[in-house]
């Protein structure tokens, strides 16, 4: 018996044993469904069963035909607003909080634990909680405004304030995440670099803009890409707070809700439409993947220059 041959055989079996469970689960529940999503987008459906190849008709419908196209465009615009607002508001504030924490004032560790606490809670809990707080009559927010003599609006029921209220809630929920990613990035900058800048007379503002900003570029890359993916996958918070239709009157409708309604049926009609749903999913997937890839490439180049 040749020892080497026996050894090779056991090790091939052993390798297969180690790799098989992971490969099987990945293939069945990630790779196959994703590939199928692309295929289904070209089919019409009878219930759960593909019922004939329709070419690009599903894509044409969701992009250019009534009633889909108007909803697609409106939802897409709302996702863009959400992304822009979270970048400026949530992540901008997170950057400043990280800088404040970098000063290691008393209590900075406790503060990290506090701002990260909402991050570990489910969007369902956070959504319901703020829905109660934003109630026009009995909610905490309007009760507090009333103490100051102001009659607050019905935040979630008014189409001018609803999306903003959702964005605020999202920022409250998630701000700890970008803040601590920025902080980790800032902590990697060497003490000497910061000291040298200070000795050259740089004040905080100059430090933040000229020294720290370019040096935390890797953190910024992660925050931008994750905020982008998160904004265009937004579903739980609007679903809980303003419902599957994105009320009032579609003012908070986003692609996630619209896709779900199209695929599985809305509140009023339980009709499934897997063909148009798949086309929407493919368009969203292509948009998210290509923009993320471009953003990643551009921002990575910026990291190297810095």
């Amino acid at each position: 018996m040749s020892g080497a041959g026996g050894r090779a055989r056991t090790s091939r079996l052993w390798l297969a044993f180690l790799l098989a469970p992971g490969l099987v689960v990945m293939t069945m529940f990630v790779v196959w469904p994703l590939l199928s999503a692309f295929r289904y987008a070209f089919y019409g459906f009878h219930g759960l069963v593909p019922a004939g190849f329709v070419g690009l008709a599903n894509f044409r419908d969701v992009l250019f035909a009534a009633p889909f196209s108007a909803m697609t465009l409106r939802a897409f615009e709302h996702n863009l607003i959400v992304f822009a607002a979270l970048m400026a508001g949530q992540n901008g504030l997170a950057y400043l909080i990280a800088f404040a924490l970098l000063k290691t004032l008393p209590g900075h560790r406790l503060h990290q634990v506090i701002i990260f606490l909402p991050v570990v809670l489910s969007a369902v809990i956070v959504g319901f909680l703020w829905q109660l707080f934003l109630n026009p009559l009995f909610g905490l927010v309007n009760q507090a405004l009333l103490l100051a003599g102001i009659q607050g609006p019905p935040w979630l029921g008014d189409s001018t304030t609803a999306l903003g209220s959702l964005i605020f809630t999202n920022a409250w929920h998630w701000i700890g995440f970008p803040a601590l990613i920025f902080l980790a990035g800032m902590q990697r900058i060497s003490r000497e670099t910061l000291e040298a800048a200070r000795l050259d007379g740089a004040n905080d503002r100059a430090l933040l803009r000229r020294i720290i900003w370019p040096l935390v570029a890797p953190s910024t890359t992660i925050v931008v890409v994750l905020t982008f993916i998160g904004s265009f996958n937004w579903f739980e918070l609007p679903y809980i707070m303003t419902g599957l239709n994105g009320d009032p009157g579609g003012a908070t409708d986003v692609l996630g809700l619209y896709f779900y309604r199209t695929a599985f049926g809305g509140v009023s009609s339980g009709l499934q439409d897997f063909g148009h749903g798949s086309a929407l999913a493919v368009l969203m997937f292509l948009f998210i993947a290509s923009v993320s890839a471009i953003v990643l490439r551009v921002l990575r180049r910026r990291e190297i220059e810095a």
Binding site: T10, L15, F17, L18, L19, P21, G22, L23, V25, M26, F29, V30, V31, W32, P33, L34, S36, Y40, L48, I97, A100, L105, P106, G107, H108, L110, H111, Q112, V113, I114, F116, L117, V119, V120, L121, S122, A123, V124, I125, F128, L132, F133, F138, L140, W172, F177, L180, I181, A184, P218, S219, I222, F235, E236, F274, S278, A281, F285, I288, A289
Partner: protein, 276 residues
């Protein structure tokens, strides 16, 4: 002079941080306190401490809703999924990190391909597949999806870590005639525990909190998870705010307690997962 300016500025920053801490904590505090108030009290004195703290609301949620069932389902699904992720990812990562074989790079890339993919967008094919496999409305179905979603990042973390272990360790085991399985289990994996903990925490939180997949797949009340169950009693008691706040408090409690006990590991696990 400059010294005094610096101190004044730090005091201002400290003040702003304190204000921020209030904004982050006060809503959670109100949630907790309101759980001990009657409905009338919440509406009349939203900011006050409970005048006569009572446990009626909490007792109501615990005894007269299916809360305990939802909690048990969440525990079961999360434990099984995280266990599956850590075991399967460690096995695959061990093969990729410790044995040179022909398609090693391709297999690694195959796992990584799922890294940035939002699996929500594949929900239609998953639904059809689940229908064929009779996995709709089962907890096993959720577990399989969560394992699949968690594997890419877990394989990535574990492979990176296992590659750093020195080769002399396995060689000495081989010389002593230990089997490959024994070398892996008794010599190598005990050293990989820190990476396994990171992979576990990073996946446990989003799985525990997930709402989307149960919403699509679970229809019987007896199999619903906690976030999904929350929507059931939020709808049922929508006029009794004391009960609502009690439900929210009880739902937030388990993960909050674990977080407070392990905050350092949570923060490291969840942010490192993103930073890589």
């Amino acid at each position: 002079m400059a010294e005094r300016g610096e101190r004044a500025k730090n005091a201002l920053i400290q003040l702003l941080l304190a204000a921020n801490a209030v904004v982050m904590l006060y809503p959670l505090l109100v949630m907790l306190l309101s759980a001990f108030k009657s409905n009338g009290e919440i509406f009349a004195n939203p900011f006050a401490l409970p005048a006569a703290p009572n446990l009626d609301n909490l007792r109501h949620i615990w005894g007269e809703t299916n809360f305990v069932g939802y909690l048990a389902n969440s525990l079961m699904v999360t434990t099984a999924s995280v266990g599956g992720i850590v075991v399967f990812a460690t096995m695959a990562a061990y093969a990729l990190a410790r044995y040179p074989f022909r398609f090693s790079a391709a297999v690694f890339l195959f796992f990584l391909s799922g890294l940035m993919v939002p699996l929500k967008l594949a929900i239609i094919p998953l639904f059809i597949e689940f229908d064929v496999l009779h996995l709709v409305d089962t907890r096993l179905g959720l577990v399989l999806i969560y394992i699949a979603m968690g594997l890419p990042s877990a394989v990535f973390i574990m492979t990176g870590f296992l590659r750093t272990l020195p080769g002399e360790l396995e060689e000495s085991g081989r010389i002593e005639g230990a089997s490959e399985a024994r070398i892996m289990l008794s010599i190598m994996l005990p050293l990989a525990r820190p990476a396994m903990i990171i992979a576990a925490i990073q996946n446990a939180v989003p799985i525990w909190n997930d709402f989307f997949f149960p919403l699509v797949f679970i229809t019987s009340d007896a199999r619903k998870t906690l976030p999904q169950g929350l929507t059931v009693f939020m709808g049922e008691y929508n006029t009794d705010w004391g009960v609502l706040f009690a439900g929210l408090t009880l739902s937030a409690l388990p993960i909050t307690l674990v977080y407070i006990a392990l905050s350092r590991q949570f923060i490291a696990g969840m942010t490192q997962g993103a930073v890589k």
